[in-house]
Amino acid sequence: MPTATTALPSFDDVIARFDPVMGMEVHVELGTVTKMFCGCSTEFGAEPNTQVCPTCLGLPGSLPVVNRTAVESAMRIGLALNCHIAEYCRFARKNYFYPDMPKNFQISQYDEPIAFDGWTEVTVDTDDGPRVVPIGIERAHMEEDTGKSLHVGGSTGRIHGASHSLLDYNRAGIPLIEIVTKPIEVEAALAPAVARAYVTELRELVRALGVSEARMELGQMRCDANVSLRPRGTTTFGTRSETKNVNSLRSVERAVTYEIRRHAAVLDAGEPVVQETRHWHEDTGETTAGRTKEEAEDYRYFPEPDLVPLAPSREWVEELRGTLPEPPAARRARLQGEWGFTDLEMRDVVNAGAMGLVEETVTAGSDPAGAKKWWLGEIARTANERGAELDQVGITPQQVARVQELIGAGTLNDKLARQVVEGVLAGEGSPDEVIEARGLAVVSDDAALGAAVDDAIAAMPDAAEKVRGGNMGPVGALIGSVMKATQGQADAQRVRELILQRLGE
């Protein structure tokens, strides 16, 4: 079986001959104050094993009690994905042994999910313009997270080669919602982009619902991508692989692309695709084999006897439906109108995952174009360099709005503003603190500027004379001279005004 990327057929070649079918399974950690089945805190980053109790440690005799807020969040996610909400459903035990799972079973849902049979849609670019792709939602169900294992003593952090493992149960019992799509059948060339757009859409949606921050780098949103391939013109689905823990938007697109090419290579070689889980490697951009179907656990699901069935009343469901935020597509359309962006501009904002940030920046007082410029320019570059999300690089929408405000007031010019943003991104403090510390404010004091203007006029008498005579051409040279003398900190507009004032006298 081919193992190196170089041995794989090109994506263009593959999509000319095969059609992929995808299925996405996304886990979202809910941002509830307490865990799914006990009163322990869910706060991230606490000392290991400090946010635990008999129930989430699975101590003998302990019992689970369902977190009502988590159930509400699950139902709201279901409703936002146009799902039916079960009139009656149960939790189930998923039985398997692993040291970071306190009870050696996970309380989950099996054949009775809280939400099922819904849909959403995503927009992707094609050569013929934006295309709306519907995505069927199979189900959304509730479950509890496991603890975390830290494998120590090996080089990779994986269990292989480690000398021992440390267990932290703070995460055990944090509520998760698993959202599973129906098979996604889409034009081959679009498949990776659709996968990415779907995960992006889901992230926007849970954030808009306020049920999770869905920060993928913190594991608050985790994605498994199922891919199968079939020769064009055939209808039977191929054998699928399930690539686990693809944990960034970019990786979703890359992993799907890789798997499509790998499946093609296997099929081209006349071999059967093995049904298995795959591990995604961010560094090499490849997947490697995990468990095969034969090795897969038999989870021995059965209804959780320690919990009573859930039977959400229709009144409750309708009450929750009333709390749903604007659907993402409608929100996009509204904001585009409010901001006066072109389709292309809006698409750039959405693709950069910056819509919410731009919105917040505008709310904080910025003009839309200015907000977009910063988030898609300076800040996006920094995020890219650091491999971080836009909202994780150390600048807030309010700070961006402040920079725009200072530009508007003439306190900063473009050049200085970039230095201010750079300072904020470098962790030097708020825009005002950076201006203070770096001494970046524009020189707009007329007395100080006046002297520099007089010097420039005296130094360039020919230019001055031409301007006096009505030829505006040399004004730029005079401004440049002043700017040079003030080391770029002058307000160029004000300098121009002062030059014209003096030469017009």
Binding site: P54, P99, N104, R300, F302, D306
Partner: protein, 506 residues
Amino acid sequence: MTARDLSRHTAGELAAAVASGEVSAVEVTQAHLDRIGAVDGGVHAYLHVDADAALAAAADVDARRAAGAELGPLAGVPLALKDVITTSDMPTTAGSRILEGWRPPYDATIVQRLRDAGVIILGKTNMDEFAMGSSTENSAFGPTHNPWDLSRIPGGSGGGSAAALASFQAPLAIGTDTGGSIRQPAAVTGTVGVKPTYGGVSRYGLIACASSLDQAGPCARTVQDAALLHEVIAGHDALDSTSIDRPVPDVAGAARQGAEGDLSGLRVGVVSELGGEGYQAGVEARFHETVELLGKLGADVVEVSCPHFSYGLAAYYLILPSEVSSNLARFDAMRYGLRVGDDGTRSAEDVMNATRGTGFGAEAKRRIILGTYALSSGYYDAYYGQAQKVRTLISRDFAAAFEQVDVLVSPTTPTTAFPLGERVDDPLAMYKNDLCTIPSNLAGNASASFPCGLADEDGLPVGLHVMAPVMADERVYRVGAAVEQAYVTQWGGYLLDQAPEVEERQ
């Protein structure tokens, strides 16, 4: 009251004596600790006795009384707690090597309620490992002996609690009943044991055997004592999702009413499927006499058929092991309890395997394997799924029967206490002990066992099994108290007064 008297009195009498100042709670507690010291070497009812904690709790009751505080109806009365219920101040083993030495960091809800009521917990009682068995022979710490005949089983799994009562080592005890583990030991030791309605008593802190069947309940020597204890431990608990949020039935009131000896208007159904072949003659004789007695007390007695009860045992032995296989998965050496083979060279998986291999006894392993199989992909529908259907049919049998009658009755067990060792190698014979008691666990309704005499052939106690609808627990108390009152009059005392004296060993 002499020290010997103190251990012979009922819980109600002791509480009254403490409340009036006739004796102190410390004296009552010390008398029972002395009795334990004298006889438990031969009985082995207790796995752990905490004299200091018990005396401190008793001193606290005395201090509260001295300060004029209002005491509950069982304040200052000692109790024996089945070792399957978590206690923050005592080890909790569930009768298993795999939990040897484990000290839970929390009290079960029952324990909290007992402490709040001023009940004195003397110690933890012996049991079949993880409540799986009918003889306590599956305890990792050696069997308990029946005080009526130390060579015989005290029943199980709660044999320790029942034997403690029958040998006057405590006037009250807590048991748990998954398929009969309160009622069958009560029957074979001549004591009273009540399995409340499922959800009537919190399971928080009860180490699970089979979650959908387990129910803790009161054990005592008299019906009124059981009722008083029932009222202390019962009631809704937000920590147990299956706990019923309704008022506790008036069981003490029903026991008082029953003791007046008038069952007029009560409709009693004799379950036709629970008797005949396989039932010991002496058991059937005492049972039928007691049914006649119910008639004499004014009850209308009819025969009722519950056709699906015959399938109860088979369904039970699929549902129970299925839940056991999952509930016992957590005992993996990672967080608490026994750890075997952790020498720095073995993987976590190897240590788990070694620990479970060493820590679980044969019956626990048998049921884990049965349950794992029954839940496996491809077998689930045929085993677990079918068993759940039988469970529904049994519930319907009960519902139909309770359309016609107020309570159902049967013998509690097909036989009296058998000799230790007799059925150790015959699991099916052992399982049949619970033939009559299992249907109530499957359906979740209330039921209880009351002493109804001694079998002629072996002179050992026989139990009357009374079953009532869900949340109609008071009916079993009414019937039990009426029968008790009539027999006390007839025999000139409680059945236990006829028990041979347990030899005192120092």
